[in-house]
Every structure is written in structure tokens, then in C-alpha cells.
Amino acid sequence: MTAELETAEGRETLRKVAIDPVSRIEGHGRVTLLIDDDDQVCEARLHIVEFRGFEVFIQGRPYWEVPVMVQRLCGICPVSHHLAASKALDRVVGAVPPSPAAIQLRRLMHYGQILQSHALHFFHLSSPDMLFGFEAELGKRNIVGVAEAYPDVARQGVLLRKFGQEVIRATAGKRIHGTGAVPGGMNRHLSLADRDALRADADQMVAWSQAAVELVKRLHRADPGLYDVFGVFRSGLASLVRADGAMDLYDGVLRFRDGDGGIILDQVPDQNYRQVLQEDVKSWSYMKFPYLMERGPDLGWYKVGPLARVQNCDFIPSPLAEIERREFIDHGKGDVIHAPLAYHWARMIEMLHAAEVIRDLLDDPACTAGELMAQGTRGKEGVGIIEAPRGTLIHHYQVGDDDLVTMCNLIVSTTHNNQAMNTAVREVAKRYLSGRKLTEGLLNHIEVAIRAFDPCLSCATHALGQMPLVVELAAANGEVIDRVVRD
């Protein structure tokens, strides 16, 4: 392990390399490497500025505004926040459970979000690295390059994403920042016209998703020395699963495994997350480090997201994705797969699952008719947990008798993965950067490791890889010795 790389000894005397901002990750990511006179990496840290201010902003607002407001938290997965908040606030209005129609419509919206986000991430942000190699020239390593060299792959990626966005629009009312889910249920059905239009494309989406899984598998198998090894480290896994152990990205109970795959905790009701999770604060990072209380901060951290989910569940409840899950598990030969690049493979398995779920939900009559709202005894508090594209997302609110939010706590996927991403950066820094001159390709290795986790800083508008990369060489006292700007 590389925990010793978190804080170097005698760090005042070391040089610092900052990669800021990490390309294709929106402005807030920053990697600093402290390097000694022999170019040995002595310290590696990933700094992410978290949106903590939002929680204060929500306090004092009426609860019914919250599911709409929280969508502003994230440019890529607003739907996840929208739904997590709605689920939490169902408790406040006593809609436990919400109506069958509301649940199915929200599921549909959520799996549409998974599909569009996974498609975006894979095709736009990661496939360039994977298809061309991490050290390929930057001008080629983007979606335009993919479109030229692999036109079908690029086209399918675009259309899969569009389909996911259409599912969102049809359920939430708008492609971005819709208002479909409300505390207590939904405010609209799926129209028959939308249903029919989506249905017409649904089988194609399943087929393309299958092809995407094949593509990742092929890349993975072609270079196991890279894919199975790059940035690997052992950690626990965390996600929701359905009560029977099935993968469920919309609702369920919390399950935690250790790095060897043994179940540490299972069947933890979402409302009880605070009894098992704690957040550690480190002086050098704005973002907290959550961990499983019973294991403590040093051992209790974990990975969330596709790689965790595909291995944390007992099975995937849709046939094609389940076949792929088994193949994935077999690839681990009895051990848990921890390789960060396997995130991509797992992510595509989930995309396939999402496509299958959407196809089946479109045939569910609950989506087009039936009571949308439920009511019950008013509550003062609610927790909503959802498996967002990037991993477990927790929303927790307390609401006063006057309907205003008095407490809000959010733990986003990227926060859950904070320790894991830091560890990946350290691993990569140690193996690929130590003792060598810093090159563009090498720096990109670090970005590739971070990007595998799909931190929610990834931004669609930077999909062309045009975001400038600033590399700073500085002494640890802050003095900048050298500076490289990559446009």
C-alpha cells in the first residue's frame, strides 16, 4: 500500500508538481505531486473542492423546493440528486411507500440517467484513452478522434446518450432540471406517445449496449498487463442492493464488503446510514473521507460506483447483464477485481442493465396510468439513498413543523470515493512517475486513474479534451519553479 505517500517526510524541501485542472474534469480537481531532487514522488494528493455551501443554502427553504433545487449540485447527474431528495422527502410527507406508478416512473427516470451518464462517460471521456492509448497524442485522444477512427462506436455512443436523455425528458419533463419527482410521488405520467417512441428504439439500445460491453472486454483482454494492473489497490466495496441481494440502483439496503469480498455489513436500512458511516476530515482536503465506523478511518474506506456494485450484488436482475456480470466475476478468478480500469467494464455492464430495465419498464402499465401521489403521517426527517451513476448518493433532511428544512446532509458519490481516488493517484504516481522525467503521457496516466472513477467533476462540455492542463513545478514552500500549460 501507499499510505505513506499521503504526507511525505520533510515535505518543505520537496518540489511540487500540480496538475490543475485535470483535463476533462471540470475546474475543481487538482493533483499535487511533491517530488524530491531525484524525481521520486514523495507525496501525492488529489484535492477536490466540494460543494458544501449547498447544504447551508437549502436550510431554511421549504422542503418541496428541495428536489428541484438540488439538481443544481451537479451538471451531469442532476436527476440523481432530484430523486435522492424526493425519496428522502417522501418520508416527510408520509409517502412510505410512494404509489406504484411513482416508483416505476422514478425508476425509469433513474435508469435513463444511468444510461446517459454511462454512455457519456465511456464514449466521450474514456474511450479515447482506451482506444488510442494513454500516451497517444492529445489531438487524437478525444471523441473527434474516435469518430474518425471508429465511426460506429462514436455514433452509437451519441445515440445511446440521447436515448437516455429522452427517457429523462419523458419522465422528468425536461432533459435537464426537470421537475417530475416531488415529495410524495410524481407529477406526471409517461405519455403514450413518448412511451411508443422510446419503445421503438429500446431493443436497439440493448443491442448497442451489449456491443459496448464487448468492446471494453476486448480492450481489457487484449492488454491484461495494463487493465488488470494499472493503479490497482485493495479496498472495501459499498452500494445499495435489493433486499434479496439483486443489483438495484434506485432503492435498497446498504451492503459493505471488505477488500477480499467478505460481507462486513448487510441489510442496513437507508434510514440508518449514520449508524454505520462516519466522515473523516483532513486538513489538506476540502472533501471529507467517509468510512465504515466499525472498521475505523484507516481500514473502513471503500469504493463505490460500478466496480463496487457489480461485485457487491449477488446477481443482476436482467438476463443479458447477468451473463456479463458472471463473465466479469470469472475474470477475477475467485478474487475481487480492484483494478480501476475495470470500472469501465463494470460501467458498461450497468449500462446494459439500464437498457434492459428501461425496455421492460416501458411495458409497465404503471408508467402510463395510476395514482401518482401518496400521503401519510407527517415525519420530521428523511434519508434518501440512490445509486447514482458514480456511486452511492445520500441525501438526509430534517424538516420543521413550519415546512422549512432545518438540517441537510449530503454525501455524494465522489466523496465516498475520495480515499479510493487518492489511493489510485498514489499508486499510479509511485509506479509510473517515480524516477522518470515528467511527460505529457505520464501526467495523463494520473488523469486516467482519476477518470476511471468518473468523479462528478467530469464535464460534458470538456468532452473534447480541450480543457487546458496546467502543470506546475513548485518547491514545497509554494515557489513555482516551472509551469507548463497544455491547451
Binding site: 418541496w64 423546493e65 410527507v93 419533463g173 417530475g180 416531488v182 407529477n187 406526471r188
Partner: protein
């Protein structure tokens, strides 16, 4: 023959006592307005209804129509002024349409769309205006008040309760609740009072309604305000 004036070059008939806005409206011409309401005397505060008469800018909601006057309303110059007025209103309060539950039913927002206000122009004041959630059925979000006094007038003149008032002047002007505690819960406002239902923006809101009606299907989502206003007498 009835008396006439020219509205954007077209003859509009009027009766004595009618304002420019009223006469234009009867003739099917829309003039943007926020503080004017057909059931109340003109208020003349928002100035959205400005028109140009003989080279002067006047509030058409308050200015009586006169024989032979030439009124310019739907011109780039006047609409530009209206846009600037809207832009000022947007920065004077805290208007955040994307998460405002009044979105789609808000006249300020609808006018901004109608008058093609595409961006902001002035620095935000970010006034500190806490919400009053004390009343069991009605929420007050002072952040969005544009001081049209429709609630004040409705409560005083129609509901006979005098629940609201404006206080202070200029930049410090704000809406207050007429109770010793200053809390809405300590007034006799009821959710079906006219005052609780007349706010053109998102200040006085029925609680727990929120986004029950989807954005996209609301009044001004479906039809622009210049058509809606001509239909329902508002």
C-alpha cells in the same frame, strides 16, 4: 362617433375616464404591466406599462386617454426601456427562476421571456430577506417581492383585513406583515383570501403545493403572457 387615439399607428376608440392601457386592451392591444390589475385602481409603481406620448414617457395604466393622442408602445425604444426595468427588478430581489415554484406562473418571468430579456445587466443587490413560514397554509418568500402592493390592496380593500404593508423607502423598501410579532401566523390571513392569491410573482405561496403541476405545463409555459393577459381579464 366615439373618441379615438392612435396606438402604434392604429386607431383605438375610448370612452372618457378610460386610461390608455384600458382602452388599448378593450381594442385588443396588449401593453405589458405588472402592478396594474383590472380590479384595482392604477398603482403606477412598476412602470412596465410605459408608452411614449408626444415625446414623453408616461405610465399607460394611469394616464387617461385623450382624443387624438399618438401613443407608441410596441417599439424597440419602449421595449428596450421595459427590458431595462425588468433587469432592475431581477437584481433588486433574489429571483432564481430554476428552483422557484412559481416558475411558469410568474408574471415577472413571463414578461422577461416576452420582452426577450436574455441576460442580466446590473449587479445583484442580494438583499437579505428571510422567509416567513409561520402560517400553517401560506408561505411568504420575501426574496421575490416587486412591491406592486397588490396583496396590500387586496387585503385592505377586498378582504378587509389589512394584513400587508410596504415599509421604508428606496433600496430599503420591503413588505411587512401587520402583526406585532411581524409573523404571518399572527394575522387573520386565510389561504383563500384574495391577498393570498394575487401575487404576480412567487412571494405569497400556498404551502405544500410546490411543483405539483409540472414545469412546462403551466400558464405561461403554454402561452406567452401577452396572449394570456388578453384572455382572462388580468
Amino acid at each position: 362617433m366615439s373618441k379615438q387615439f392612435l396606438f402604434d399607428g392604429r386607431p383605438v376608440a375610448f370612452e372618457d375616464g378610460q386610461t390608455i392601457l384600458q382602452a388599448a386592451r378593450v381594442a385588443g392591444h396588449y401593453i405589458p404591466h405588472l402592478c396594474w390589475h383590472p380590479d384595482f385602481p392604477p398603482h403606477g409603481s412598476c412602470k412596465l406599462c410605459i408608452v411614449k406620448v408626444a415625446g414623453r414617457h408616461v405610465s399607460s395604466c394611469a394616464m387617461p386617454a385623450k382624443e387624438g393622442m399618438e401613443v407608441e408602445s410596441n417599439t424597440p425604444e419602449i421595449n428596450g426601456e421595459r427590458r431595462a426595468l425588468l433587469q432592475m427588478l431581477f437584481v433588486e430581489g433574489n429571483h432564481f427562476c430554476p428552483s422557484c415554484e412559481k416558475s411558469g406562473n410568474c408574471q415577472l418571468q413571463a414578461l422577461a421571456y416576452d420582452l426577450e430579456m436574455t441576460g442580466e445587466r446590473f449587479a445583484h443587490f442580494f438583499p437579505e430577506r428571510p422567509v416567513d413560514a409561520s402560517h400553517p397554509d401560506v408561505l411568504l418568500d420575501f426574496n421575490r417581492c416587486i412591491f406592486c402592493e397588490l396583496c396590500v390592496r387586496a387585503s385592505r380593500d377586498v378582504d378587509g383585513k389589512n394584513v400587508f404593508a410596504l415599509t421604508e423607502r428606496g433600496i430599503n423598501k420591503h413588505l411587512v406583515v401587520n402583526a406585532e410579532s411581524g409573523r404571518l401566523a399572527d394575522t387573520d390571513l386565510a389561504a383563500d383570501d384574495l391577498a393570498a392569491n394575487i401575487c404576480p410573482v412567487g412571494v405569497i405561496l400556498k404551502k405544500r403545493v410546490g411543483f405539483a403541476k409540472p414545469i412546462g405545463e403551466r400558464t405561461y409555459d403554454v402561452k406567452p403572457i401577452h396572449l394570456v393577459a388578453m384572455e382572462d381579464g388580468k
